[in-house]
Amino acid sequence: MATTKTRGSDRPQAEVTPSPDERRHILYLLKLCRYFDERVDTLYRQGKLPGAIYSGRGQEGTHVGVVLPLGPEDSLFPTHRDLSAQLAKGLDLKRVMAQYWGRIDGYTRGRDGNSHIGDWFGSKTWTVMSHLPIAYPVACGAALAYQRRGEPHVALAICGDGATSNGRWHEALNWSAVGRLPVVWVVNNNQYAYSTPNPLEFAVPTIAERAAAYGMPGVRVDGSDVLEVEAAAREAVDRARAGEGPTLIESVSLRWMGHAGHDPAKYVPKELLEEFKEHKDPVKNFERRLLEDGTVSEDDVKEIQARIEREFDEGYEYAQASPFPEPGDHAKGLWVEDGYWTSEPGRGGPTEYS
C-alpha cells in the first residue's frame, strides 16, 4: 500500500487517454488559464486592477490535470495559486473578473479579491484563504461527510511545497489515512515558497515519499505533462471513490512568476526558469502534441484562442459594468440570520439554505 512511484513516459497511453474532444477541451482550458494569467498581469501592471495578483503560470498542467477526473459533486480545496484549477472546475469567467475588480457580482460579493475566490454552491470550490494549508483539514471534513452518507464523492485539496512544512499538512494526511477518507492530496511543487527553495523546506528527496509515513500511496508526476497529471489524479480519485482511502500526489513544476505581482522573483536562477519555459511549458507542450498527432489543426488552435480572447473581453466588460457593493453593507453577512447572502439569489450566495 504505502508505495512511492514515479510516473514516467512508459505508462501505457491506452489506459487513460482522453478522447479527441476531451483533448481539445483540455487544450482550451490550458490556454484559457494562461491567457487569463497574462492579461490580468498586464492590467495589474497598468494600474487598472486593484489589489494583488498571484500567478499560477507554468503550473497549468497540474491545475487542469488534477481537476479533470472530478465530477460536479466532488469538492475542490485550492490555494490562491490555483485559480486555473478553479476555472477548470467550472467557475464563470465573468464572475471571476467581477471578483478581481471588487464588484457585487464576484463570488465573494466584494468581500475578497483576486484568487481568494470560491464557488461552493455552484462548482463546489472552497473560497480560498491565505493561511496555508488551512483547507487541508477542511477537506478531511468534507470527505468525512461523503463517507458517512455513503456518497461516492471525493475531496481534492491542493497546496504548494511550502505548505508541507506546516503542522496542519501532517495532521490532515495522518487523519485522512486513519479514517480512510475519500481525499486526494495534491502538492503543487513549484520549487519555491515565496523565495524559499525546496532544500530549505524539507530534507527528504521528494514530498511524495512522505506518503509512506502516513500509510498511503504517494506518486510524483511531471507537472508539465497534463495527461500524466490527469492519469495519476484519476487513479487517486478512483481509489478514493472505491473506499480505499487517500493518495498523495506531488506534481513538479516551476513558478514562472513571483510569489505575487510585486515580486520580480530574482532569486529563481535564470537558467532554471529558461529551462522550464523552453522544455516544460505545460500549455505549449500539450498544444504541440495535439498538433503533431492531428487532434487539432493550426486553424483549430486559432479558433480556440479567439474564443478565449472573446470570453476574456466579455468578462472584463461584465466586471466593469457590475456595481460595487453598497458601502453600508460592509458589516452584513456575518450571521446567517441577517439574510444578506440570500437577499439577492445568484449574487454569490445560495438561493436558500437547506
Binding site: 469538492s75 463570488y107 465573494t108 460579493r109 468581500r111 475578497d112 481568494h116 470560491g118 461552493w120 454552491f121 473560497t127 484563504m129 493561511h131 488551512i134 483547507a135 487541508y136 483539514p137 477542511v138 477537506a139 478531511c140 471534513g141 468534507a142 470527505a143 468525512l144 461527510a145 461523503y146 458517512r148 475531496a155 503542522g167 496542519r168 495532521e171 490532515a172 495522518n174 487523519w175 486513519v178 453577512g333 456575518l334 450571521w335 446567517v336 440570520e337 444578506y340 447572502w341 440570500t342 454569490g348 450566495g349 445560495p350 439554505y353 437547506s354
Partner: protein, 350 residues
C-alpha cells in the same frame, strides 16, 4: 492531558447510560448533566448532529460529559479523533459545509488555541466571504478555581469573541447551560460553548425536561434583582457575585446581578437597563482585565449609559498573567467575594 483535579472533578458520574438517569432523586441536574442532556436530546432529534473529539467515545470525555453516548449513538456519531486540534476544527468546518452539524469537544478549552488558526481564520470567516453557513459547535471546559494551573484554567472567550463570526456562550446555571447548548446546536452559525469546570458538579437545580426547551443566544438574564448597584458578570463569577450580593443585603446594599450568558454578541439592552435602574456598575470577570470581556462591557456602559451613572464604571478582573497553581496564589489572582464587596462599598460611597 490528565485531569488535574480531585476525583470529584473528573470522575465518572454514571448511573446508567442516559444523562437524564443521572439526575438526583428529586429531579435536579448538575450543570454537567444538564449539558449532557442537551447534547443527547439534540443527537436524538437530528441525525446530522455528530460529535468529535479526543477520548469522547470509549472513555466518555475528560470530564465524562459524553459518557454513554457511544453506546447509544455509535462510533460514527461519537467520533474519537487523533490529537490534532487544527484538524478537529477543520473537520468540523468541512463536514458542516457538506450539511452535517458537528459538535467538537476540546478536553480543556485551553487546547482551543492549538486550533487557533482554523478557528479564528477559517471558522470565523467562511460565511462572511462565501455565504456558506457553518453550523459548528466547539465546546470545552474553561476557567479556573479548581487548582488546575496555567494550562487547564484558561478563559479563552476574549480571543474568540475578537475573531468576529463566532458566538461565544458562557453559561452559569444548569438550565441555562442546557437551553443554550441546544440553541447552539440548532444555530446555523459557528458557536463556542464554554463550560465552566468549577460549576460542572457544584451547581445543581431543577432543569426543564421539555426537549424543545431553549435559551436564546445573546440574551442576558438578571439573576438577582437589586436597586443600588449592578454587578455585570458571567460564568463562575455569577456565583461569587450572588454570594456577595447576599452578604451585601445584610449590610443594607441592594445589588443586582446580571448574567451575560453569551459574551458575544452581547445583550447590551439588558445590561443598560440594569444600569439605568441602579446607576452604578461593577463589571466582574474571570477573563483578564486588559482586553478582557469586562473591558467591552465597561466601555459599552460608559458610552451608552453615561447619563445614568452616579459613579465611574469599575472593573474587577484578574491581571493578565498565567493562572497560578498554589492555592494562595490562585485565590489572590481571582476576584473573591471579599473583593466584590469591597468594590461595591467603594461604588456606594459615590
Amino acid at each position: 492531558m490528565t485531569a488535574p483535579q480531585a476525583p470529584t472533578e473528573a470522575g465518572a458520574a454514571g448511573h446508567g447510560a442516559e444523562p437524564r438517569g443521572k439526575r438526583t432523586e428529586d429531579g435536579q441536574a448538575t450543570y454537567l448533566i444538564a449539558i449532557a442532556e442537551g447534547l443527547w436530546e439534540e443527537m436524538e432529534r437530528d441525525e446530522r448532529v455528530f460529535m468529535l473529539g479526543e477520548d469522547i467515545g470509549v472513555y466518555g470525555g475528560a470530564f465524562k460529559v459524553t459518557e454513554g453516548f457511544l453506546d447509544r449513538f455509535g462510533a460514527e456519531r461519537v467520533m474519537d479523533t487523533p490529537i490534532a486540534e487544527e484538524t478537529i476544527v477543520g473537520v468540523a468546518i468541512g463536514s458542516a459545509m457538506e450539511g452535517l452539524r458537528p459538535v467538537a469537544e476540546f478536553q480543556y478549552s485551553d487546547f482551543m488555541t492549538s486550533g487557533f488558526d482554523e478557528i479564528s481564520t477559517a471558522l470565523a470567516r467562511v460565511h462572511y466571504r462565501s455565504g456558506v453557513p457553518l453550523p459548528v459547535v466547539l465546546r470545552g471546559p474553561s476557567g479556573g478555581m479548581v487548582r488546575a494551573s496555567s494550562f487547564h484554567s484558561v478563559n479563552p472567550e476574549p480571543w474568540f469573541s475578537y475573531a468576529g463570526g463566532i458566538k461565544v456562550i458562557c453559561p452559569a446555571f444548569p438550565s441555562d447551560a442546557k437551553g443554550l447548548i441546544k440553541s447552539a446546536v440548532r444555530d446555523d452559525n459557528p458557536c463556542m460553548f464554554l463550560e465552566h469546570k468549577w460549576i460542572y458538579r457544584r451547581i445543581r437545580e431543577q432543569v426543564p425536561e421539555d426537549p424543545d426547551f431553549l435559551v436564546p443566544i445573546s440574551s442576558a438574564d438578571v439573576k438577582r434583582e437589586g436597586d443600588d448597584v449592578s454587578i455585570v458578570t458571567y460564568g463562575a463569577m455569577v456565583h461569587r457575585a450572588l454570594e456577595a450580593a447576599q452578604m451585601l443585603e445584610e449590610k443594607g446594599v441592594s445589588a443586582e446581578v446580571v448574567d451575560l450568558r453569551t459574551v458575544y454578541p452581547m445583550d447590551e439592552e439588558t445590561v443598560l437597563r440594569s444600569i439605568e435602574k441602579t446607576s452604578r456598575a461593577l463589571v466582574l470577570t474571570e477573563s483578564y482585565r486588559f482586553v478582557g470581556i469586562g473591558a467591552e462591557v465597561a466601555a459599552t456602559i460608559a458610552e451608552k449609559a453615561f447619563q445614568h451613572l452616579d459613579a465611574p464604571v469599575v472593573r474587577l478582573a484578574p491581571p493578565n498573567v498565567p493562572v497560578p497553581f498554589s492555592p494562595p496564589l490562585e485565590d489572590a489572582f481571582l476576584p473573591s467575594v471579599d473583593d466584590i464587596i469591597a468594590q461595591v462599598d467603594q461604588l456606594s460611597a459615590w
